[in-house]
């Protein structure tokens, strides 16, 4: 164990003994996300550094407090990247924060989510124990897949000390096309394209315009452009569009006074939401953002009726339920898992659900 790990383990044991809730925090770039943070702030940025990176192994192992931007720059220098395009939501975003939040960017629909790239973790649990799960290899079925469980757990299960992530070569070519399409047609079209061997790497629909990004071998991108038509968007403008979606700087992502930005995760073919508000559709129809003042009950009911779930991503009542409530059977399993990793309930209590 490193000096920091020893210090932190000591602090966690003391907090557990005293029942002191801890608010695990990297740069605070995602403080807005989840239920309101409570507890004594536990700063995690000091634990920085790259432990191993060999481009030919397609794996990078870094300490949790490493800035995400630093990691991405290091990968870019080798022509590689994090294919799930994690949003930063702030200049100081850390790798552990990225993993704990479990948020993925525009490429998620074809590349996969944070959890899909998790190969291993080293965590500090609520007993002050340092444990490793998974590893640094692509395929590993020894033991339960705890590393993927940690992704998206919002710091409620443990402190992420180290992460091993699968990395990929950057696509050789990319191009963005735009199409004027109404919502229903756009949803149908992106699903049809999804079923064809096309190098689609992101989709965005907003205000009657569908943007489609193609990434891959030069020949594949060129062939797709020739086949799909649409209007070619200049590379600089295209980069700005995808970055604005990833970092949610488009105006539609900013809730006004009293509004909530809802994230609806739905089957990609789900029909139009028919809820009041400004909408952005991503992930081939599977992720729909709705900024407005529709009441929580009707948004959740609609999400469930369409076969998915809704979360209050920004704004709204952070003291109430932010994520879709779980069935009784799943809630029981969640409580038991929380207890298994954090018996005193000190890590980010209530951040995910009130009872966790």
């Amino acid at each position: 164990m490193t000096t920091i790990e020893n210090e932190w383990a000591e602090r966690v044991r003391a907090a557990a003994a005293a029942n002191t809730p801890l608010c695990l925090r990297g740069s605070g770039s995602k403080d807005f996300y989840g239920r309101a943070p409570v507890g004594e702030v536990f700063e995690l940025r000091a634990n920085q550094g790259v432990i191993a990176y060999e481009p030919t192994e397609l794996v990078v192992t870094v300490r949790g407090g490493t800035p995400l931007a630093e990691l991405e720059a290091m990968l870019a220098a080798q022509g590689q990247y994090l294919a799930f395009e994690p949003p930063h939501f702030g200049a100081g975003a850390t790798v552990a924060g990225c993993v704990a939040a479990g948020l993925s960017g525009p490429r998620r629909v074809t590349a996969g989510a944070v959890r899909d790239f998790m190969l291993g973790v080293k965590v500090l649990d609520g007993r002050g124990q340092v444990m490793r799960f998974g590893g640094q290899v692509m395929k590993n079925v020894a033991g339960y897949d705890v590393s993927r469980l940690i992704a998206g757990s919002l710091g409620t299960l443990g402190i992420v000390l180290e992460v091993s992530l699968k990395v990929l070569p950057r696509p050789v070519a990319a191009a963005t096309l735009s199409f004027e399409l109404d919502e229903a047609t756009a949803i149908r079209r992106v699903n049809e394209w999804g079923g064809q061997p096309l190098p689609v790497s992101a989709t965005l629909w907003q205000d009657g315009v569908l943007h489609l990004r193609l990434s891959g071998a030069e020949a594949a991108v060129q062939a797709a452009i020739a086949r799909l038509g649409g209007e070619r968007v200049g590379d600089i403008e295209a980069d700005a569009v995808w970055s604005a979606v990833r970092e949610q700087t488009l105006p539609a992502f900013t809730p006004r006074m009293g509004e909530t930005l809802w994230r609806l995760s739905l089957p990609s073919t789900a029909p139009a939401l028919e809820l009041p508000g400004r909408q952005v559709i991503e992930w081939g129809g599977a992720q729909r953002w709705l900024a407005g003042s529709a009441d929580a009950g009707s948004v959740r009911a609609r999400a469930v009726a369409l076969g998915g779930h809704a979360s209050a991503f920004r704004g709204g009542d952070r003291a109430g339920e932010v994520f879709q409530p779980l069935s009784a059977a799943l809630a029981t399993i969640h409580r038991r898992l929380k207890h298994a990793f954090d018996p005193a309930g000190i890590f980010n209590p209530g951040r995910l659900y009130p009872e966790l």
Partner: protein
Amino acid sequence: MLENEALAFGETERDFAAVDKARVIEALTRVLPAGALMYDAEDLRPYECDGLAAYRALPLVVALPSTEAEVVAVLRICFELGVPVVARGAGTGLSGGALPHTRGVLLSLARFTRIVQLDPLARTAVVQPGVRNLAISEAAAAHGLYYAPDPSSQIACSIGGNVAENAGGVHCLKYGLTVHNLLRVRGVTIEGEIVEIGSGALDAPGYDLLALVTGSEGMLVVLTEITVKLVPKPLFAQCVLAAFDDVVRAGEAVAKIIAAGIIPAGLEMMDQPATAAVEEFVHAGYPLDAKAILLCESDGTPEEVTEEIGRLRAVLEDSGATEIRVSRDEAERLRFWAGRKAAFPAAGRISPDYYCMDGTIPRKRVGEMLTAIQEMEQKYGLRCLNVFHAGDGNLHPLILFDANQPDEMERAEEFGAEILELSVALGGTITGEHGVGMEKINQMCAQFTTAEVRQFFRVKAAFDPPGLLNPGKAIPTLNRCAEYGRMKVSKGHVPYPDIPRF
């Protein structure tokens, strides 16, 4: 209380001697229709092992439910009576994960063979756990879609078993493992509760239980329905066969392909003994003088494939390949693959028995591993054929032996154990895709610490508090690790100091 129970189960092997067979039969007869319950020895015999035939046991009874309600009823009874339950799909698993419990119910999902729904626009299929892997792709083919993970046994293996083992295949470097191709599972807990894990969307609220259940070897929940993703079938595929006069050089070529930014659809390697064995069997036209051959597949649009094959060829030439062949048509591509896919039967043809290992190591250590295996062949006096998924460092050494010869099986097991422990020492894992099951349970002790093993028992208890689903598999008790005596030692600490030694 929960905490103590979970840990108690993690300390020593449990004894289910008190399970009363007559009572179990009587209770199950009440909830299962005629023909769905078997308990005579001759009816139990077909279930005595899975694909790892070296391990055999007869269950107390075999239950063959055909509805979810029957599964719930069986599990409730087992919960009430404290009876172990081992779920089984097609029984093709290679690690003894479906090995029956002698005091338990073998719960076969073989009657759950319905494709419930196939949605070509959403590219999803809802299937029952007993549906064969290949049957999903066959059903999707009419829509230009398929289910990507393709374990070698895909003709026979069931999707439920694939989820239980997080099955891979030859295309998973590019297309992912089972865990990357699932959206949702529905299952029943030992308490008889129905749980929906995941959703028809790309994620679900709360913890990622779908990841936890995938690869959990039937230890957490019994599956009754699975939603998989379907992906578009590539328009075109071509395969490059490259020969090398040195295994280490072949390993380096693999690293160079990745370094060039290429993720081939398949990247497989075979050593000379493996090549010779399969060539004799399938006549794929492999070069027999090569020390190792690589098979690299490219797929996509015809333009994309042509571009990638050109880049692959350049890297392979630069890496010192002694011969490079590019498949000229589909028949030749399939012939290139026929040999690789026939590696296991070919081993079975030249040896009465073989033992297939499944360690995964960082790619750069492949040369070291192969050299060590050659030394082990001398040490144990047994031959070994090496085939592996080179793209992801997943090795399948096939240790040849004859179980009828005194102590050959023991030597094969020791040989295998040494390979697995070396996999851990080289920074890898004891199992890439076949699972721990019964087979590698001792080697788990070399990979995980006491705290980690205890944590696994706590995770299991979150789903299965009484510890009745597949007990004794996948995660070793600390007592077993102490007896095995080869535990993970971290930085000079004595492992398992609180466990009595034998």
